[in-house]
């Protein structure tokens, strides 16, 4: 049985007089014990999908289950199996950290949960803040409490919606160590993040959303070995010819271009020569997840119909 299963999920809503199709038939499964990354640009539908999973929002059509429990008809069992760390930094100002965690435990029917609460506090570096009021905590500390709150009932499926947005390095490391430890113990993890190096380091499998459609779904290693395995990297002060600029990843002076084989490298160099583009520090490198991500996003630019045709390890089924 899958830890999480999305089947043909659509979400449509009215906004400012026009119909927004936030999700257009998304299907994929997350297996037990898997560390799964859900990537996509802002507005791709990641948070909408997670909201539907968590019961914060309802799908227009389709079916979502957590360990086989339907999130609508069997919501209590589904939510018991889920621990969700919301994206927004929210807290209840009336309570201390320990009170917050005790209250959250009680919602899940756990009256005596202090041993696990202490363990959570220790693992998240919160032990000395246990009796502090939520209002007195810094943003990073509040974020840790959010993580602890999601884990009070030891959920088999952990959902992290951009947990490291605006978070310092120390917390990121503490958090990932702890989550990786839980993952090793068998908890499935669904992570959305904008930090692609994080996803590359942590996630065994990755799905990519664009404009409400799943445009890629594969093992992280397969994605990295796939479409753009090599990159041509150089520095330049000149403007690139338009056809190259369209597919380049540009960071300041540094330009990176996907190049699959020798012919493509030759073509790129020829185009640069024709445009009288002077380059320096030219080198070849392996593509990282960010390159893969950009290439996949680009290849689906304004072309929704193609989304269903991407074939990655047979896991992908996108309704046209």
């Amino acid at each position: 049985m899958s830890a999480v299963s999305f089947h043909n999920v659509t979400k449509t809503f009215e906004s400012g007089g026009r119909t927004v199709r936030a999700l257009q038939g998304v299907s994929f499964d997350i297996e037990e014990g898997e560390f799964f990354g859900l990537l996509g640009p802002n507005g791709a539908g990641k948070t909408t999908l997670i909201s539907i999973l968590a019961g914060l929002s309802r799908a227009t059509s389709g079916k979502v289950t957590v360990q086989g429990h339907d999130v609508v008809s069997d919501y209590a069992a589904a939510r018991r199996a889920l621990g969700v760390v919301p994206q927004e930094l929210v807290f209840d100002p009336f309570f201390s950290v320990r009170e917050t965690l005790r209250i959250q435990s009680a919602y899940f029917g756990l009256r005596r949960n202090d041993d696990w609460i202490d363990e959570l506090l220790a693992n998240l570096g919160l032990s000395d803040k246990a009796d502090a009021n939520m209002r007195q905590l810094s943003g990073g500390m509040k974020r840790r409490v959010l993580v602890a709150q999601a884990l009070v009932h030891r959920p088999p499926v952990i959902v992290l919606d951009e947990p490291t947005a605006g978070v310092d390095v120390e917390l990121r490391q503490t958090l990932w160590q702890f989550i990786a430890q839980l993952n090793k113990k068998g908890h499935a993890v669904l992570l959305t993040t904008h930090y692609l190096e994080e996803a590359e380091a942590l996630c065994g499998r990755i799905g990519m959303l664009k404009q409400g459609q799943l445009v890629a779904l594969d093992r992280t290693s397969a994605l990295l070995a796939g479409t753009a395995s090599t990159m041509l990297r150089f520095k330049t002060d000149h403007a690139l010819p338009p056809q190259l600029a369209a597919q380049a990843r540009i960071t300041g002076r540094i330009v990176q271009l996907p190049a699959h084989d020798a012919t493509e490298i030759e073509q790129i160099l020829a185009q640069l020569r024709e445009a009288h583009c002077k380059v320096e520090d030219l080198e070849m490198g392996r593509a990282d997840l960010e390159d893969v991500f950009l290439e996949i996003m680009r290849s689906h630019q304004g072309d929704h119909a193609k989304a269903g045709q991407v074939n990655n390890a047979g896991k992908l089924e996108v309704a046209a």
Binding site: S51, R79, V90, P93, F94, F95, Y107, Q149
Partner: protein, 257 residues
């Protein structure tokens, strides 16, 4: 899930809701008690010798049950409505939305905590004002029944208002244009029999009138209308409002998009 399981499920949320107002009890219980005492001192002093509603009952004594009920109703409403709108606006309602709690458990927790706050304020007002003019308790069970029903009715109304309002000023409008007029025009400060015919008729359409009239019955053994009629009206209103609140919670009105 049935109601019995929901009662169990509601416990933690109920406890949290009670703690929420208890932690700021100076503001949530102390302040409304003081307000009521001021009403009693001013109106009682001015009108003591001019108004007699029931034979042998001085105005200050007559006023006390009305003030107790008014404070109870307003605070029961304030508890569920303010808790919900605050949680919605600050976003921490998500912690409850993510739990397996049923819509019935939500209802029981919010209405239960409203009832507790209403009763706490009502009791506070009663204790302090009774010191000025002991009103006696002729038929205490009526007082108890209407206090309970009033707390539930207003707790459920507050729940609806809290779900409906998106902003604090919408909530203030609900309170100032619906709840306050309905409590003031229900015979807290007077017997509706002293009103001109039109206003008397209008008052009889106000469920709060029956709450206060029935409640007063418990103190003086006399009332404007039969307590059984009041009970029927109030129970019907409570059931109707509760049904609507449960429906809104079940469909996730404005809380689950």
């Amino acid at each position: 899930m049935n109601w019995l399981a929901s009662v169990q499920g509601a416990r933690p949320l109920f406890v949290k809701e009670v703690l929420r107002f208890w932690k700021v009890s100076f503001q949530t219980i102390g302040a409304p008690v003081l307000t009521s005492v001021l009403y009693l001192l001013i109106f009682g002093h001015v009108l003591e010798d001019h108004v007699q509603v029931f034979k042998g009952v001085g105005y200050t004594r007559f006023l006390i049950p009305g003030l107790v009920m008014m404070s109870l109703l307003q605070n029961a409403f304030a508890n569920s409505s303010s808790s919900l709108i605050q949680s919605k606006i600050t976003g921490n309602l998500v912690f409850v939305l993510l739990t397996p709690l049923s819509h019935r458990a939500w209802f029981l927790a919010y209405v239960g905590a409203s009832l507790v706050r209403g009763l706490a304020v009502g009791t506070g007002v009663f204790i302090v004002t009774a010191w000025f003019a002991p009103p006696g308790l002729a038929e205490p069970w009526w007082a108890l029944i209407f206090a309970m029903l009033g707390g539930c009715l207003l707790g459920a109304l507050g729940l609806i208002a809290g779900l409906w309002a998106d902003k604090f000023d919408q909530m203030a409008a609900f309170q100032n244009f619906i709840i306050v007029p309905m409590t003031f025009l229900s015979g807290v400060f007077y017997s509706v029999h002293s009103l001109p015919g039109f206003w008397q008729g209008l008052s009889h359409l106000n469920p709060f009138f029956y709450l206060i009239d029935g409640f007063r019955r418990g103190f003086f053994g006399a009332s404007d209308v039969s307590p059984w009629l009041s009970l029927g009206v109030v129970a019907t209103a409570t059931l109707g409002v509760s049904a609507l609140a449960l429906r809104l919670l079940k469909t996730g009105y404005k809380i689950r998009s």
